[in-house]
C-alpha cells in the first residue's frame, strides 16, 4: 500500500504557482509515473466537519430542465457532495443521469435552481464561468480550430493579459507535461485524437486551477489509447496535486482511476465510495448492476433449521449466507458476483459448512481469454452468470450445452444489498 500524498502538499503556497506542473528535473517523468500508477488502496475516512479540506462542496443541488415537449426533466435532485483537495472523484452513471449537468453547474455553464456550490470556501452563486477557479476538459475537446496549439494552450493566459515571455514559457511547460513539447505551431486539426486530448488537458491546467473538471475526456479515443491515457491522467493529477472531478459512463474507467466514485442515476446520488466499496458493497441494486457483472436475487430472507440465513429462489433452491442481523422474513435483494461462483475439479467437493451450492443448467460457455463466462439457468428459467477459471482446461472445457452443473460459492460472498425492497 502506497501512502497517499500528504494533504499539505496540495495546499502549500508553492503548489499553486506555475511550478506546480513543472516536471521534476531530478526524478524525471518516468519515476513520477510509476509512483502515480499505484492507487491508494484504502481511502482516508472522510470527516465532514473538516470542511477546510473540501476544496469543492456541493450542497443540496437541484436543477430542472424543460424539455422541448414542455415536460419537466429533473436533472439534479438534492445532490450533496464534498470533494477533498487532491482527490480524484468520478461521477459515474448512464447517459441522462445528470452527471454532465452536475459538472456544468460546477464550472458555471449551468445555474442551479436550488442549493449551492462552494469552491475554496466561497459560494459560487451568481459567479460566471470565467471568474471561477476551475477549468474543464470538454468531451470533444472544444479546441479552437482557428488558433494554433500554442495559442489554444495559452488562451487563458492571453485573456488574462499575462506577459508574453512568461506566457510562452508556461505554454512550453504545459505542453511538456502532456508530452507534446515543441508542438506550439501546429493546428488542432493536424493532431491525432489522442494529441488533441492532450492539448485540451494542457489548456485546462495551464492557469493552475485547483480543481479540474473532465467531461468524458477519453470517450472518443480507441481502447488502447484510452487505457494509456487513464494511467497518464491519474499521474498528472497526482503530479499537480489538484482535485479532479471526472465524468464517465464507463465503469471500468471509474474503477481504474478514482479515489472515490459517485454513482448517479436519475439525477440522484445512488452511492459514494471508493472503487472497492462500490464494487463489493453496493448500496442499491442499481449500483450492483451498473458496476461489474452481477447476479441479483430477490426474495424473503429466513432462518433455516441449522440457524443459517437463507434466501429462497424460484426453483426451491436456496442461497445460504452468513449475514449477521440480516433480519427475518424481510424482502431482500441478494448479490452474487459471477466471479464468486466456482466449478470445482471433479472429486474436489468443497466443504458444505463453508460453501453453498446451486444446481443449474449450462446454456452457454464463452471463453474470455483468461476465464470462461458460463451462462446458466436455474430451474425456473432465471439466468445466472458465472466467471470461472479453468487453467487446466479440464472441468469447464468438457462441459456441453444443456449439462447440469453444480456451482459453489463461499458462504461469505453473497451480499445483502441494504435497504432495497424488491423493485
Amino acid at each position: 500500500m502506497i501512502p497517499r500524498r500528504p494533504m499539505a502538499a496540495a495546499i502549500e503556497p508553492g503548489a499553486d504557482s506555475e511550478d506546480a506542473f513543472a516536471p521534476d528535473p531530478v526524478r524525471g517523468r518516468i519515476s513520477v509515473h510509476m509512483a502515480g500508477a499505484c492507487k491508494p488502496a484504502i481511502d482516508i475516512q472522510m470527516t465532514d466537519s473538516d470542511s477546510i479540506d473540501h476544496f469543492l462542496e456541493i450542497r443540496d443541488a437541484s436543477k430542472t430542465f424543460v424539455t422541448p415537449e414542455g415536460e419537466l426533466f429533473r436533472a439534479l435532485e438534492n445532490i450533496s457532495l464534498p470533494v477533498r483537495n487532491n482527490e480524484f472523484v468520478t461521477l459515474l452513471g448512464p447517459s441522462g443521469c445528470g452527471k454532465t449537468t452536475l459538472l456544468r453547474t460546477i464550472s458555471g455553464l449551468e445555474e442551479l435552481d436550488r442549493g449551492e456550490i462552494m469552491i475554496d470556501g466561497r459560494s459560487m452563486i451568481g459567479i460566471p464561468p470565467h471568474r471561477r477557479p476551475v477549468n474543464t476538459v470538454f468531451q470533444n475537446y472544444a479546441l479552437f480550430p482557428h488558433l494554433s496549439v500554442g495559442d489554444n494552450v495559452g488562451y487563458s493566459l492571453d485573456v488574462a493579459h499575462v506577459a508574453r515571455t512568461e506566457r510562452d514559457r508556461r505554454v512550453g511547460e504545459a505542453l511538456d507535461l502532456v508530452g507534446l513539447a515543441g508542438m506550439e505551431r501546429r493546428r488542432p486539426r493536424q493532431l491525432s485524437g489522442g494529441q488533441q486530448q492532450r492539448v485540451a488537458l494542457a489548456r485546462a491546467i495551464i492557469s493552475n486551477p485547483k480543481l479540474l473538471l473532465l467531461d468524458e475526456p477519453l470517450s472518443a479515443l480507441d481502447r488502447g489509447l484510452r487505457q494509456a491515457m487513464q494511467i497518464e491522467l491519474k499521474n498528472i493529477q497526482s503530479e499537480l496535486g489538484i482535485s479532479f472531478v471526472f465524468v464517465t459512463h464507463d465503469q471500468e474507467e471509474a474503477l481504474t482511476m478514482s479515489d472515490r466514485i459517485v454513482v448517479m442515476s436519475g439525477g440522484q446520488i445512488e452511492q459514494v465510495g471508493t472503487p472497492t466499496e462500490v464494487y463489493d458493497r453496493p448500496s442499491t441494486a442499481f449500483v450492483a448492476e451498473f458496476i461489474g457483472e452481477s447476479n441479483i436475487f430477490r426474495g424473503v430472507l429466513r432462518t433455516n433449521a441449522d440457524g443459517e440465513s437463507e434466501l429462497a429462489l424460484g426453483d426451491d433452491q436456496t442461497v445460504r449466507l452468513r449475514a449477521d442481523g440480516a433480519g427475518e422474513n424481510r424482502e431482500s435483494t441478494l448479490l452474487i458476483r459471477p466471479e464468486n461462483l466456482l466449478v470445482p475439479e471433479p472429486g474436489d467437493e468443497p466443504d458444505p459448512a463453508q460453501y453453498g451450492a446451486l444446481d443449474v443448467t449450462l446454456r452457454q460457455a464463452v471463453f474470455l481469454g483468461t476465464d470462461f463466462q458460463l451462462i446458466c439457468t436455474l430451474g425456473d428459467g432465471t439466468t445466472l452468470k458465472a466467471i470461472v477459471r479453468d487453467t487446466a482446461r479440464q472441468t469447464v472445457s468438457s462441459l456441453r450445452r444443456g449439462d447440469r452443473v453444480r456451482l459453489h460459492y463461499w458462504l461469505d460472498s453473497p451480499y445483502l444489498i441494504p435497504g432495497t425492497p424488491a423493485r
Binding site: P68, S107, G108, L109, P128, P129, H130, R131, V134, N135, T136, F138, Q139, N140, A142, F144, P145, H146, Y155, S156, D158, V159, A160, R186, R187, R189, Q190, R203, A204, S207
Partner: protein, 303 residues
C-alpha cells in the same frame, strides 16, 4: 496505357467544363470586352460609337478632359463617392440587422429554423418593382409610416422621406438583406457552441469570447455577405430611380441615363468600368483574405 488514360480523363474534363466555359465566353467575356473597348472610343453623334481611340471618357470623370468637347465635372466623382458611401451604409445596416438575427435563428428548434429561413426567402416570390412601389406607399408624406406616426402623436407634421438618401438606403437594405443573412447564417450555424463554453471556462469575458472566438470563426460569412450586398447596391439603378428620384442620383442611374437617355455609350461604358474597378478592388481584398484562410486549411490537411 496511363497516357491514354490521362488523355481520356482530360477529354472528359473538357466535355464537362465545355458548356459552362462556352456560356461564360459568350455571355460574360464577350459583352465585357465590348464594354472595355467602347469605353475607349468616341461617342457617335446619334448614338453608337466612332472607331477612334478616345481616352477623354475617363478624363471627364477623373479630371483630364480636353475642355473643348468634353468638360471635367467633379459631379461625376461626387455621384460616384455618394454611391460608394450609400453602398457601404447599406452593407453596415444589413450586417447589424443580420448578425444578431442569425444567432437567434440558429438557436431555435429545427422546425422554427426552417420556417424563418422560408420567411427570409419569401420576398423573392414577388416582383421587385411591386415591392418597391409598396415602399413608395409607405414612405410618401401621406403614406403609411407618416399616418401611423401622426396617429401616435409622435410627429406633428409628415416627415418627407421620399426622394432622400435615407429612402434609397431603406430600399437597398430591404431588397439585399437576404443576401447578407444567408452566408452569415451558414457560418453561425457551423459555429460549435462548446467553443464558446470553453472560452468562458478558460476565463474569457463575453466580449473577449466574441472578439477572439465567435467573430473570427464567423468572419467568412460576414465578409461573403458584405461582398454580395456591396456589389449590387453599388450598381443599382432601380431603387434610386423609384425611391431617390432625380435628387439622389447614384452611379447606376447615371450609367443607365448615358446608355438610354444621353446615348453616350462610351461614357456609360467608362462609368461602368469605374464601378467594376471599385468592385474588383474590394474583391481583391476578399479573395486575399479567403485564400489566406484556405492556405491555412490546406496546411492543416497536408500536415
Amino acid at each position: 496505357m496511363s497516357t491514354s488514360k490521362r488523355m481520356r480523363s482530360r477529354f472528359e474534363l473538357a466535355l464537362l467544363l465545355g458548356p459552362t466555359s462556352l456560356f461564360l465566353a459568350v455571355f460574360f467575356i464577350a459583352p465585357l470586352s465590348i464594354m472595355v473597348v467602347y469605353s475607349f472610343l468616341e461617342a457617335g453623334l446619334y448614338g453608337g460609337v466612332e472607331w477612334t481611340f478616345y481616352h477623354y471618357n475617363f478624363g471627364r470623370i477623373l479630371g483630364w478632359a480636353d475642355g473643348t468637347h468634353e468638360y471635367f465635372n467633379p459631379a461625376y466623382l461626387w455621384i460616384f463617392w455618394r454611391s460608394v458611401r450609400m453602398a457601404l451604409t447599406t452593407v453596415v445596416i444589413c450586417l447589424v440587422l443580420c448578425y444578431p438575427t442569425a444567432f437567434w435563428v440558429s438557436r431555435l428548434p429545427d422546425r422554427w429554423k426552417t420556417f424563418f429561413l422560408f420567411l427570409i426567402t419569401l420576398p423573392f416570390f414577388a416582383s421587385l418593382i411591386v415591392r418597391l412601389f409598396a415602399w413608395v406607399l409607405i414612405l410618401r408624406p401621406s403614406g403609411f409610416l407618416n399616418t401611423v406616426l401622426e396617429g401616435l402623436h409622435l410627429i406633428s407634421e409628415p416627415i418627407d422621406l421620399m426622394y432622400t438618401e435615407a429612402a434609397v438606403i431603406i430600399g437597398l437594405v430591404y431588397i439585399l438583406v437576404p443576401f447578407m443573412f444567408l452566408p452569415i447564417y451558414a457560418s453561425v450555424e457551423k459555429l460549435n457552441m462548446s467553443l464558446v463554453d470553453a472560452s468562458g471556462d478558460l476565463g474569457a469575458t463575453k466580449f473577449q469570447t466574441f472578439r477572439r472566438i465567435i467573430l473570427p470563426l464567423t468572419l467568412p460569412g460576414v465578409i461573403g455577405g458584405s461582398i454580395i450586398v456591396f456589389i449590387p447596391s453599388l450598381g443599382n439603378f432601380v431603387v434610386p430611380d423609384l425611391l431617390g428620384g432625380a435628387k439622389v442620383l447614384m452611379i447606376g442611374s447615371l450609367i443607365e441615363q448615358q446608355f438610354l437617355g444621353a446615348r453616350n455609350w462610351p461614357f456609360g461604358a467608362a462609368l461602368s468600368m469605374m464601378v467594376m474597378g471599385t468592385v474588383l478592388v474590394f474583391l481583391f481584398f476578399y479573395v486575399r483574405a479567403l485564400s489566406r484562410a484556405e492556405a491555412l486549411e490546406e496546411g492543416a490537411k497536408n500536415g
